[in-house]
């Protein structure tokens, strides 16, 4: 629960304490006195440089290898996969992946699935959070408990019954297989989103709601004009993780989207591999990871300051 606690207080974390106080606060295992000792300083420096090099090779290395191999002709990659400098450049591999392997279509499917899932998640989480936190119907505690309870059910329990539900949706008897709805709608049932947003709404100042009510705002105006605009930070967090989560999804879209022309990149790539030229295929892998990596670089703070969020977003 510490995770949720951290999310709802983003503003004070950014406030910097005065420099002097920070120096005192900032000490870790190694004392300031120890840091001034030569042996400690040099050992520490060596360990840090080694760690940085390790992280460069292990964290960035595979991604760089992928980027390099996507512009290296296949034959060079096969002959000397670890050559630092490509023997020749072949930007055509991107063009081939894009047009002949139809990565454009699958990328568009992924984008489309991500947008829809994002929208459903945001609508469900904000309306539910607003109802449970601000409007508080009589049974709101029970409902919150029911939402919370689903967090403790491992996602594997849902797999088969959810599949059968999507094959034939109860009450309305619709078949959602081979439509994007099969991915969009179940994405909305994210207890994590609802709880995070409800906790954020819980901490908005009630005085403002009362003032708005006194001024004659109805529940819809309160939601649209007051609550939502005040929640931009948390909506940003939930949105970024929703998009990345959908992008990473594999098993569910594999099950419910059988028609290749509807499948997202993650589902298509494994089936494309045997019939695709290596260089072209790696170019396709590079295209697939470009958007999540770009989102990460843009919103680094959300990822690196919101511990636990990334892990908890998917069952």
């Amino acid at each position: 629960m510490t995770t949720l606690g951290r999310v709802r207080r983003p503003a004070p974390a950014r406030a910097q304490p005065p420099a002097r106080a920070r120096v005192q606060e900032d000490r870790g295992v190694i004392s300031p006195a120890d840091r001034r000792r030569r042996r400690v300083r040099w050992t520490l420096r060596a360990v840090q440089v080694a760690t940085l090099l390790f992280l460069l090779v292990v964290g960035l290395g595979p991604v760089l290898w992928m980027a390099k191999s996507s512009i290296t002709p296949t034959q060079d990659t096969l002959r000397a996969p670890m050559a630092l400098w490509p023997g020749g450049f072949d930007l055509g591999q991107f063009a081939t992946a894009w047009t002949r392997t139809h990565i454009d279509r699958y990328l568009l499917n992924t984008v489309w699935i991500a947008i829809g899932s994002w929208l459903v998640q945001i609508v469900v989480a904000t309306t539910a959070g607003y109802a449970l936190s601000v409007l508080r119907p009589r049974f709101h505690r029970v409902l919150t408990g029911l939402v919370l309870a689903t967090l403790f059910v491992p996602s594997i329990v849902l797999l088969v019954p959810l599949y059968l539900t999507v094959v034939d949706v109860p009450l309305v008897h619709l078949r959602l297989i081979d439509t994007f709805w099969a991915v969009w709608l179940p994405a909305g049932a994210s207890a994590f989103n609802v709880i995070v947003i409800k906790r954020f709404f819980d901490n908005l100042p009630r005085e403002i709601f009362e003032a708005a009510r006194v001024d004659g705002a109805g529940p819809f105006q309160l939601f649209w004009l007051i609550v939502l605009p005040m929640s931009r930070p948390i909506l940003g967090v939930v949105s970024v993780f929703a998009v990345i989560g959908t992008w990473k999804d594999y098993l569910w879209p594999l099950l419910v989207l059988r028609n290749p022309s509807l499948q997202p990149l993650s589902v298509r790539l494994p089936t494309l591999q045997p019939t695709t030229d290596l260089g072209v295929f790696i170019a396709a892998l590079t295209i697939s990871s470009a958007i999540p990596i770009a989102l990460f670089l843009l919103f680094q703070r959300l990822f690196l300051r919101g511990p636990g969020l990334s892990g908890a977003i998917k069952g």
Partner: protein, 316 residues
């Protein structure tokens, strides 16, 4: 931010002052119901109903054509009698154990070193986290090249530099699982590093000061102050990691498909095989029974884990 007291008091006072407002907005009006519709529809259809259905299905013979019939515990009996079941359980346990041995210490060591770093900490955590945002399918397909068993494979080329012979990696039933765990650790460690970094920030500096007064060395401080202070977080990440590794699917499915010779068939792969291998309609009952057994085991295991560790982890 309002304190808890404030949050509780203000609506109550306001309610007393504005009884009409309360009647109009706060209680069970049509508009409240409208705001609850998305929650009730989506969670009802795609979360609550399937969870209940999983339990019902595990007791039924279900295919998509005929009406389901109750068969008691037959599905459970058939799963237990399946020779692959024991193999899948063993493989999953082996995967979890390897992931623990390889994947649990690395983030701790990295986080402790990184938290002692003044400059470049941001760069280091970004580098550590980068693999987490690469889509799992891309990582697995990329690492399949790295694990290429020929002498010109990426890892085998690197081993060649230090004079080690080519390893079979995924092609051999002894090394396939460790190879998968290496990739899975690479893909997940960054998230844990970030959690530990945040937890390390909350270790009170006075504890280190006090340890120094007692003449503790750096090692002793790490062992007797840092790690005990991280205890609560470590307990939670450990159980979360076990729960996650028990449900591993994408990696074994895409790396080896369970091979060679079932050496990487995990419980999830077996569930997938039961339910979706046969395109004409699968053994949904058996798949549901196995997933409920797995979830039940995880629940009992988690409860036992917290019960056993309750006296160690309460202080933090």
């Amino acid at each position: 931010m309002g304190s808890y007291a404030e949050r509780d008091v203000i609506p109550r006072v306001a309610v007393r002052r504005w009884p009409r407002v309360r009647a109009r907005f706060s209680r069970d009006g049509l508009s409240t119901f409208l705001f609850l519709v998305p929650l009730l529809a989506i969670f009802g259809l795609f979360s609550w109903f399937p969870i209940i259905r999983a339990f019902v299905m595990s007791l039924q013979e279900t295919n998509l054509v005929s009406i389901p019939t109750f068969v008691g515990l037959e599905n459970f009996a058939r799963v237990l009698a399946d020779p692959v079941f024991a193999i899948a359980v063993r493989n999953t346990a082996y995967f979890a154990l390897l992931a623990l041995v390889i994947g649990f210490p690395i983030p701790i060591v990295l986080a402790v070193i990184m938290s002692e770093t003044r400059r470049g900490k941001g760069l280091m955590s970004a580098l550590a986290y980068l693999p987490v945002v690469v889509p799992p399918v891309v990582s697995v397909l990329l690492w399949r090249f790295f694990f290429d068993a020929s002498a010109t494979g990426v890892f085998n080329t690197m081993l060649g530099w230090i004079g080690l012979g080519p390893l079979p990696w995924l092609q051999n039933s002894a090394s396939a699982m460790p190879s998968i765990v290496i990739e899975a650790t690479w893909a997940a460690a960054g998230g844990t590093v970030i959690i530990y970094l945040a937890a390390l920030l909350s270790v009170p500096p006075e504890l280190y000061d006090a340890a120094e007064v007692d003449g503790a060395s750096i090692w002793q401080k790490i062992r007797n102050v840092t790690l005990p202070q991280l205890r609560g977080v470590l307990f939670v990440t450990l159980i979360l990691q076990l729960i996650a590794t028990a449900q591993v699917f994408t990696e074994p499915f895409l790396f080896t498909g369970g091979g060679p010779a079932n050496s990487t068939t995990t419980v999830l792969l077996l569930i997938y095989h039961y339910a979706f291998q046969n395109s004409l309609g699968g053994e949904y009952g058996m798949a549901a029974a196995l997933s409920i057994m797995l979830a039940g085991f995880l629940a009992v295991f988690t409860a036992g884990y917290f019960w056993l560790t309750r006296s160690w982890s309460t202080s933090s």
